[in-house]
């Protein structure tokens, strides 16, 4: 048997598609709308959430037998907040430029409902290794959607990817802009993120009819 049993693999892979936190469970939508106007912050947010959720799940799982159930939500909140502050401080000390890019987003991780959701639903009832896999899997599922949405919003809204002008220069009218293409300014506004997420959900459901609820 390898490092991951079949069940462990499912913990990682399920949240990527058929149990995706954003498109199926509809959690973490707020940050998905707020930060996906460009590709780079989307990726950085995805990486930070992988770290916080992976580690946070392990910590909660290790403490699961001693946490008093009356104050478990507060305890979970403290764990997330502590991890986020540590990430923020370490970035500021060792990767200052990166931390400036992310400062707001790092703080926003605390409010991400996927994290509290996984602590409550999984880490409180499972061992550390399984919780770690579950955390990483869910964070990856969240990150994948973020990156897809960020890709389309930056490409169609600003005509760039990672800041590179892949479609030509909109002011100088080169590349695609020479033949009359225009950026869709609506793409950079948050409502369009909702529509892009909606399209992803639509595509996913039409490909897998098991996801459609019966009325």
């Amino acid at each position: 048997m390898g490092l991951l049993s079949k069940k462990d693999t499912r913990l990682i892979l399920d949240p990527l598609a058929d149990d995706n936190p954003i498109t199926i469970q509809v959690l973490g939508i707020c940050s998905a709308l707020a930060i996906t106007a460009q590709l780079k912050p989307s990726i950085v947010m995805a990486v930070s959430v992988i770290f916080v959720l992976g580690l946070g799940n392990v910590v909660i799982s290790l403490m699961r037998n001693i946490i008093p159930s009356k104050i478990r939500i507060i305890v979970q909140l403290i764990v997330v907040a502590t991890l986020v502050i540590i990430v923020d401080q370490v970035l500021k000390a060792f990767a200052y430029e990166l931390s400036k890019e992310l400062s707001v987003f790092i703080g926003l991780i605390i409010t991400n409902c996927i994290i509290m959701g996984r602590f409550e639903a999984f880490a409180l009832g499972n061992g550390p290794w399984k919780s770690f896999l579950d955390g990483v899997g869910n964070a990856l599922g969240y990150g994948v959607i973020l990156i897809i949405v960020g890709f389309f919003r930056e490409l169609l809204g600003s005509g760039t990817l990672f800041g590179f002008k892949v479609l030509g220069d909109s002011v100088e009218k080169t590349g695609l802009y020479a033949i009359g293409y225009e950026n869709n300014g609506f793409m950079v506004l948050p409502p369009m993120a909702l529509i892009v997420v909606g399209i992803i959900i639509w595509v996913q459901r039409s490909r897998n009819s098991a996801l459609i609820e019966e009325n």
């Binding site: 507060i74 401080q89 500021k92 000390a93 200052y96 400062s103 707001v104 300014g185």
Partner: protein, 249 residues
């Protein structure tokens, strides 16, 4: 172990221990990393000042590239010839002027009778004397700030803007080169009257070819951040105008 986890006393003890552990951990991290964070902030300020006066690693029309952190301290000493602190009509040299906290000075200046300390950096690049001023104002969500480099006649030679929490893709674009580079060559004075530079919508000059209209093209979707930039320039640079009048006489 027969501990009753439902008892209030258990909950209380758990909470106290948790708070102590977390508090110690965070305090340890914070004080352990503080020197490094402070040093980074100092370097950043030097990088910003140098960026505004055109000392940077920009390539072509690409992204903003500061002079590398390991070279910044030397470059700062080489390019910045004088650091002044202006207090009212007098000015004095102070090589720690770049550490003056513009935010705190702005807050103190609201009290009557306080003489605000204005830092001014005089640099020299390619034989040209440049005067660099810090500015600070409000954007849509939070603070915006920057440095403006001008020559003796108060024509802008370079700017650097930064922000705490403007919307990515909209207001946050004020720190992109295509916005900041528009300011270069713009005049701040009309004759001897201070005009400032307006971030204008509906600009007839989107490529910013006309340099004496006291306007640069606004960012679409970032009206309030743009207005914040106009207001910040108008208010903060105006405080330096008397100094420029004295050196021009």
């Amino acid at each position: 172990m027969a501990v009753n986890k439902d008892k209030n006393s258990y909950t209380m003890i758990f909470a106290v221990i948790m708070v102590l552990v977390v508090g110690t951990l965070l305090a340890g991290f914070s004080s352990g990393l503080k020197p490094m964070i402070k040093a980074n902030e100092k370097f950043e300020k030097q990088q910003n000042i140098l960026y505004a006066m055109g000392v940077n690693d920009n390539v072509g029309s690409g992204d903003v590239a500061f002079i590398a952190t390991d070279r910044v301290a030397d470059a700062f000493n080489t390019y910045i010839k004088e650091q002044l602190v202006i207090e009212g009509a007098t000015s004095s040299q102070n090589d720690k002027a770049y550490l003056i906290d513009v935010k705190k000075e702005g807050a103190k200046a609201k009290k009557a009778g306080y003489q605000r300390k204005l830092p001014l950096f005089i640099g020299e690049k390619d034989g040209k004397k440049l005067y660099i001023m810090p500015v600070r104002g409000k954007g849509l969500w939070d603070a915006i700030w920057g440095f403006v480099a001008v020559d003796k006649s108060m024509t802008v030679q370079g700017v650097y803007f930064d922000h705490k929490g403007e919307t990515p893709g909209l207001g946050a674009e004020i720190k992109q080169r295509y916005f900041m580079d528009d300011f270069i060559g713009e005049k701040l004075l009309e004759g001897t009257t201070y005009k400032g530079i307006k971030v204008a919508k509906g600009n007839n000059d989107p490529k910013n070819m006309i340099k004496d209209d006291y306007e640069v093209d606004a960012l679409a979707g970032a009206t309030i951040t743009g207005d914040g930039v106009s207001a910040m320039l108008k208010k903060d640079i105006a405080m330096y105008v008397p100094y420029f009048k004295t050196i021009n006489n």
